[in-house]
Symmetry: D2
Subunit: 328 residues, 4 copies
């Protein structure tokens, strides 16, 4: 297993536009560290992001990693073996113009902004819990730890370089709680080596990340890379032991829904040989639609279908099962 621990100056703020930090052979596990979305600078409730962070040095990612043999038109498979909070605390915050229940620079209003407030959570990785503390009053409550990465993806197509805060067909800031350990994520490869990067760990997040941040944490994460040659993936997909998922990232939110459901329907038809409308009907009754983010430059929704509804169909030539066994 390879290991990669970035210095602060090694962190990246874009997908694309950066040289790889390491070259990795397919089938290799890598243990890596990711900093939190604030670059580790918000450590207490008095550390306001607008004061201690500097645009555009937000939402750093670790990488990019060059995966050997990955070429445009292939699919990069990334199996998440483990995601573990690196500290015994984590933070969350509101922002003046970011989040779902505030005006933003696009949903622009003339109202006064929301207050910028920071919450600090206690993290007990062994017990598998995080503890919330109200800022005004002494209310406190435990929630289950459910570690995930908000940001994961590859270099975009068409010579683009995108801020890490943006989710799109290359991945990026999908901010979905479905990207947890045990998942294999698939990304279409746009440039030689794919240039995968990872960051934005959350101890957990609610659906939609409504205030604009999860419970933000540095993470120690183990992934295994693989390359599926000659098969392109049009938008990020996830696979678990039990389910397939397609991600859609767009605005308005119904387009994120349409993209994700459309990909799941056509993928289901391709896997099973079902007619497209038959697959549409099956997904309509058996599918779910986990909400990713409703706060980022594109919103993200997933379309999810239990494998038990797919008969004997196998995705990506059994890549998930292979990586999962490798990882265990």
């Amino acid at each position: 297993m390879l290991s990669y621990q970035p210095d602060f100056s090694d962190l990246s703020y874009t997908f694309g536009g950066r040289s790889p930090v390491m070259s990795v052979k397919p089938g290799t596990a890598v243990s890596l560290y990711t900093e939190d979305c604030f670059g580790g600078r918000v450590r207490d409730v008095t550390d306001l992001p607008s004061v201690v962070c500097e645009f555009p040095y937000l939402n750093p990612v670790t990488g990019p990693f060059h995966i050997e043999g990955a070429e445009p038109g292939d699919t990069l498979a990334v199996h998440f073996v483990s995601i573990t909070p690196a500290r015994d605390w984590a933070v969350s915050s509101t922002f003046p113009h970011f989040g779902a229940l505030t005006s933003t620079h696009t949903t622009a209003t003339l109202q006064p902004p929301l207050d910028e407030v920071v919450w600090r959570y206690d993290v007990d990785a062994d017990a598998g819990i995080v503890r919330y503390h109200a800022r005004r009053g002494d209310f406190s409550v435990e929630m289950p730890l459910d570690p995930m990465h908000g940001t994961a993806g590859v270099a975009p197509a068409a010579f683009e370089t995108r801020m890490t805060i943006v989710p799109d067909v290359h991945g990026g800031n999908l901010d979905t709680p479905e990207l947890r350990a045990g998942v294999t994520a698939y990304f279409g490869v746009n440039v030689p080596g794919a240039l995968f990067a990872l960051g934005d760990g959350h101890c957990r997040q609610g659906d939609g990340e409504v205030c604009g941040t999860g419970i933000e944490a540095a993470m120690n994460t183990v992934v295994i890379f693989d390359v599926v040659k000659g098969v392109f993936t049009p938008t990020p997909r996830f696979e678990t032991d039990d389910a397939l998922m397609s991600a859609g990232s767009a605005r308005p939110l119904e387009d994120a829904y349409r993209m994700s459901q459309h990909d799941l329907v056509t993928w289901t038809a391709a896997l099973t040989g079902l007619d497209q409308l038959d697959a549409y009907q099956l997904v309509s009754q058996a599918g779910t639609a986990p909400v990713g983010n409703v706060c980022d430059p594109n919103y993200t929704m997933l379309a999810k279908l239990a494998k038990k509804y797919l008969g004997t169909a196998t995705a990506y030539e059994g890549t998930h099962a292979r990586l999962r066994n490798f990882g265990s």
Copy 2:
């Protein structure tokens, strides 16, 4: 327990604009029958809705019921004791211009329409399963039965009468799988007697009802009504033994999300005494966002929070617990 079995000619196609079919005292259980969204006219795969159904005689509801003592400004509580498919079959269909993965009269395109196709499901209420059959090919698969009502609500405010296909703050065609047995639904009362009506049973549906219909079925349903005096409910809310939910119905879909999350945040603050931003943070990390419909004239999303995160707070003076015990 009262019983109500409508004739076909008793069915209603609007919320508001109709005289009540029955007057009911609070605390009374009513056993009633609801026809399916096609008025029972689609019985086989050859019964195309566009041929056998006639606009606007679609999505019939049973009622309205006048609840004694319900006055504008109060809240009507409706506890769903049981929802049971009335037949051993159910149907679903695509439509030429209805559903999430097709153009519609508002998302208007110049493309050819989708085919109109009907699927007929086998329903085994005792075994708790429904069986899907592909139309082209012999693929077939079982899914768990999870009966629900797509349409439930009261007469709208401001002298309005709305088609039953529309979801809004009066309820209506919310089309959420969360409206199943065991739930208490709360609606703000706009007119004397509230004028509650119910229909559009689904044996189950996927999140978003992506093709435009669930597994549509006539239902035998038992509800108990109650009135919470002097408390208005701004948008439909649901309560189970374990969770609170707020519904938002709007377009674009992010506004359905915003409405539902905003109501859940302010409701949480009111129930717990938490500061509004503290409640925002709590919901941001602990809340979920079940998707209702992404196909109706308004889209519907729910915001849901487990009661365990609310300390000792009790909603609507314990109405759910009281009705639940009554119902069991």
Copy 3:
């Protein structure tokens, strides 16, 4: 010419759900009075709408008028001969949760609301000007008078009754500056007599009515009604001496655009015999897209094409030319 002057108690707050105030033969001109959107209760800058007005008694309309011989499936033509401000003042206001640059009950945020502020304009109908006065400071400027009606329509289909604040395929609160004198408006007839009503005069308004109100004024207006038998109009259309227009009302705003452009493209194809894609291309290069409202429950956009691009085609059998001559 008939004349109709409503008492305050005669005003209506819905389309549909009301008995006609008068029956009118096609080809008849009617002189009528409309109250402003505040019911005339906001007369000075100290009259805050939230204090002097009472929901749902907002945006009153005059009517409905029963047009003899109009049957479902026909088209009602309404030619606007003249629209004249009835007073030498008019008012406008912001609202706490209404308008494009504020959160609303659907675009819900947790921010403090905008201030509620009233502006009073001087109206000089003879000189054709209105005068704006800033509330804070002594800035003042004249603008051209351009009188229009924000609200005009017929009873909806499908047994619906809608608040006058809603624009949809029945017309209603379109809030477009294109509805000025000289225009013939066409509405599909849904109920016997059509039940046309009119209100919400503006001395002028900017595109989108961004703050939520125009320069609101009572109006003395002359219209001529006609009925085009056996031709249905799917969404409101306007005709002037020089142009044809289709209105689309929906959310999100791109759907209002799509609806209006789709109707103009298919209408152009029908009028000219052009292939649908040829009409699409013609409208794409020669058409304009006047913005109606971006603040009401549905947003409204128009698609507009100069008649000079249509060859010799004539709409609605020359109804506009006939009514225009009648009116002059």
Copy 4:
């Protein structure tokens, strides 16, 4: 006056990520050539874009130009002296999944795609007309020539590189007919030298570019550059002799409207000293909202206010007047 004629291999397909082709002093006029959005490869109705063009080599721009002295935080002013079609023909087309009246990869549907069709226009620059020819049938009609650039902008902030098809706060593919000769465009500078590029000439376009393309043409264009030091422009703005305009690019379309109106309101307040709500009211009644595109990855709308409503206020220290005189 400098002159720049790119070879085909000099064309660029991104904003950002490219070295400058030329360095220009402020106050310098540059005569340059831009290729059409198809790279000149669609020359007749049989040249289908999907066959003769290759993704991502679409929508080429000329440049980027390094403007001396332009630093992050400054504003680049670009005055358009003249825009002249370079050929006596131009082309337009539909695409399978691009345009407002078709499904796209985000507004994804399961319907068959639109046909891909090309139209070729005759261009008579001296007479100031373009001629449309229907593809099926012999209908033909003249329209006024109104040359404009669909794509103009600077390198983005935050290390981003964006495809030229994307409009955003850096400019890009705004696709507004308001970007014609006589206009001064203002862009916030994000990188040293600003790195301005220009392309996508249209002989004219309708509002919204509903089919996805204007009347696409190579152009000979003269611009004059200037730099306004120490003043940043948050989103592209335009100035003519008579009006000020702010551009907003976002999805859904109401957010493009909100962005543009918000910028115009706050700019108006800053220029005149008016209170922000007074400026809101003034723009609400006197402003217009020209529609740019409703087909690109972000939609674009403008907010426009006649200067006559602004008293004696002058924008950007009189830059427009100065460049306009220079250019004439």
